[in-house]
């Protein structure tokens, strides 16, 4: 009797040898019923070194296993003495890194929650060598503009998106609201709406119609889900996102004093079109937002009329001085140590929970 690979997972995780084989099984498996999930993260280290390090270290008494050839099958092993009656699903994914950009792709057919336990564990071990880069709304638009030039605007549709925006009601106890829209619109219309509402994206689900249908979802944190036509999704959307991730990593990289020329930091700022900080209550709101950043502590030296505080990120020992000295910008001055992962995490937290602004090089204008 021949053994059949009778589940999509069995088929997916049986791909061996090379990326073509993986894409072949991915296209067979990928469907609305069996979406493929994953994420992108950035690292300058060779993937082999990262995997060796991963195998040598444990998180919560669980260890990692990884195959030796790319795409590498990484498994987060079950605890040996697990007493659960049902066998726990072992989180698994494929990892591979292209030769030309410092980005690693992670891909699985398991549920998002199972995958996130694996990806979170990998981050905890591999930090600060890897960076999770977050996308801004303008970068989503950049990727879709690029994509539509190959297929035409009318073929590229937005089917769902989650966006946040400020609550204008002064009596509200919440400052930011989250809205999920199920729709079917062309993407310029959606981005116009976002601009008018001063909203910013958390996730977006796109659909490409025509002779090569494709659909999938991209998250702000560079996570993705593909529901249809993974090879096209990868070639069109994911590779563009990877380019943006690599570029943003370069932007955030080497800004601390240890890396800068003459041991000077390279500050960045988050700027807004409107005078957000003309209302001094916004200082208090920003303090609350920054204080809510997980695994970090924020010491406020001065809160009003200007803000000066120091953030220490316990995930990798990065630290920053944060200033509000103008009505339209937040200044972030990296201190002795500041990794690209930590800086991206901080900027995203502010853009996602306070208000999305333009993150750029500080020029003192």
């Amino acid at each position: 009797m021949t053994e059949e690979k009778n589940t999509p997972g069995d088929l997916f995780f049986s791909a061996k040898g090379n990326l073509d084989a993986l894409f072949n099984v991915a296209s067979q498996v990928c469907s609305n019923a069996n979406p493929l999930s994953g994420c992108l993260f950035s690292t300058e280290q060779p993937l082999d070194e990262s995997l060796t390090y991963l195998k040598e270290h444990r998180i919560s008494k669980r260890r990692f296993a990884a195959s030796t050839t790319s795409p590498h099958l990484v498994t987060y092993k079950r605890k040996k003495d697990s007493s659960t009656s049902e066998p726990e699903e072992e989180p698994k994914c494929y990892l591979w890194k292209p030769a030309d950009i410092p980005v690693v792709y992670a891909l699985t057919c398991q549920h998002r929650d199972v995958f996130s336990s694996l990806s979170d564990a990998m981050y905890r071990v591999l930090l600060p060598g890897i960076s999770r880069i977050h996308l801004r709304t303008v970068e989503f638009l950049e990727a879709l503009n690029d994509l539509s030039s190959g297929f035409g605007e009318d073929q590229l549709r937005i089917r769902e998106y989650v966006a946040r925006s400020l609550i204008e009601d002064e009596n509200s106890h919440k400052q930011v609201e989250t809205n999920r829209q199920w729709t079917d619109k062309d993407y310029p219309a959606v981005f116009d709406e976002l601009r008018q509402k001063r909203a910013w994206l958390s996730t977006i689900r796109i659909e490409l119609r025509g002779s090569q249908p494709m659909s999938g979802r991209i998250g702000r944190d560079s996570t993705f889900v593909c529901h249809e036509n993974f090879p096209l999704f990868f070639r069109t959307i994911l590779s563009r996102i990877a380019g943006i991730v690599a570029r943003r990593r370069g932007f955030y990289d080497k800004r601390d004093r240890q890396s800068g020329p003459d041991r000077g930091p390279r500050p960045i700022e988050i700027t807004y079109d409107q005078e957000v900080f003309a209302d001094k209550q916004q200082h208090g709101r920003l303090i609350r937002v920054i204080t809510s950043l997980p695994n970090a502590s924020f010491a406020v030296f001065h809160g009003n009329p200007y803000l000066h505080g120091t953030l220490v990120d316990y995930t990798d020992g990065s630290s920053y001085d944060i200033w509000i000295a103008t009505a339209t910008s937040i200044l972030i001055v990296p201190k002795a140590r500041a990794t690209s992962h930590s800086l991206s995490r901080l900027c995203n937290h502010i853009c996602d929970r306070f208000e999305e602004g333009d993150v750029r090089e500080y020029h003192g204008q």
Binding site: H57, I59, S60, R124, V125, L127, P128, G129, R257, G260, D262, R263, G264, P265, R266, P267, E269, E275, A278, T291, N295, S297, F298, A299, V300, F301, H302, P305, Y306, H308, T310, V312, Y314, T315, D316, G317, S319, D321, W323, A325, T326, A327, S329, L331, V333, K335, A336, R337, Y362, G364
Partner: protein, 353 residues
């Protein structure tokens, strides 16, 4: 005085200290600024050990540590001293002002080939609130020939101001500077945006000057320094919620603080900022707080526990130090009362050996 009063005083002390550092940075920022070309790449030191000559009127053949040395040109420098508030006692104030004359000397220790400077000015930086009072007293002392300067001497006041932007204002209150263009700018009152000062890559990291920082601030700097110091394996243990122990001697911690929060300079001229006694006091405070312990071996070392801490640590340090000071004050008052208690005195006399 209640604990809340002490908390308010500590917050003010920390604010004053930060303002003074900002003022020194603002002054350095301006002195190293060319309106045509922008920031000039010239030396600036926030504290530098310099040797006085035998002709020094106040401190001959000795070492002095001015708060700021700026060298905008190869043969021109400025020595600046910051005083956010001079003493309320007129005699003490007079002595502090007269002590500025120690910088009116052929000092050795400039960042030049022969460590000498052909021409330098002496500047007193003081808070705008005290500017008039300080200038009146200086004029009085100069009138009585109780203070003289052979070199150009100026008083520059500073104050933080705010409209839609926050800036540091510098103003020439009295005296003279060799750079007439800078003098004129200061005479008209100069405003420098706070973010320009904070982001100046040359001295963005400077948070200490040659005056002991308030204890809560130094505790905060130590916590930062220790976390920055974790290596990758320690960071991994930390992320796995395992406490990490770091060992430091007082001198070790002092050197790390100087590296992190003061400007690097040549070893022979690096002043002891912060002072060893201040660092020891801060480490002992961490022992009292339960975040560190004294090592049994080797002596003089401390084991600092790095854990995930939550909330505004700076406020925690302020509250802790305030409570410690309040309890110490109460203990002193109790002891003083017992000394004065007639019954206690009788008991003491009756039962004295």
């Amino acid at each position: 005085m209640t604990v809340e009063d002490i908390i308010r005083r500590l917050r003010k002390d920390c604010d004053d200290y930060c303002d003074t550092v900002l003022a020194l940075k603002a002054f350095a920022h301006e002195m190293l600024w060319d309106d045509g070309t922008g920031s000039v790449d010239c030396p600036a030191f926030f504290g530098r050990s310099m040797a006085t000559s035998s002709a020094n009127r106040i401190s001959p053949d000795n070492t002095v540590t001015p708060d700021l040395i700026v060298q905008p040109k190869p043969q021109y420098g400025i020595v600046a001293e910051a005083k956010i508030a001079l003493s309320g006692d007129p005699k003490k104030r007079t002595r502090k002002l007269q002590a500025l004359q120690k910088y009116d000397d052929d000092l050795t220790g400039w960042k030049t080939a022969d460590e000498k400077m052909k021409l330098h000015d002496v500047v007193l930086l003081c808070h705008n609130f005290h500017g008039t009072e300080v200038c009146d007293q200086l004029r009085d002392l100069q009138g009585k020939a109780e203070i003289t300067f052979d070199r150009k001497f100026a008083v520059v006041s500073f104050i933080r101001g705010q409209q839609t932007e926050t800036w540091m204002s510098l103003a020439l209150e009295m005296g003279d500077l060799s750079d007439t263009a800078k003098k004129e700018k200061l005479r008209k009152r100069l405003q420098i945006r706070l973010d320009h000062i904070a982001a100046n890559p040359k001295f963005a990291s400077v948070e200490l000057y040659d005056h002991p920082p308030p204890l809560p601030m130094l505790m905060h700097f130590i916590e930062q320094t220790v976390v920055n110091d974790l290596d990758p394996s320690e960071l991994l243990r930390h992320r796995q919620r395992q406490p990490v122990l770091k060992t430091y001697s007082i001198d070790d911690m002092r050197d790390r603080l100087a590296t992190s929060f003061a400007l690097p300079q040549d070893k022979s001229r690096t002043p002891k900022i912060p002072k060893r006694a201040s660092v020891k006091e801060a480490l002992e405070a961490f022992v009292a707080l339960g975040w560190a312990q004294r090592a049994s071996e080797p002596k003089g070392y401390y084991l600092y526990t790095v854990k995930k801490r939550h909330g505004n640590l700076f406020e925690r340090f302020i509250t802790f130090v305030a409570k410690q000071q309040f309890e110490a004050r109460q203990a002193e008052e109790e002891a003083a009362k017992k000394e004065q208690d007639p019954n206690a005195m009788v008991q003491k006399r009756l039962f004295a050996p």
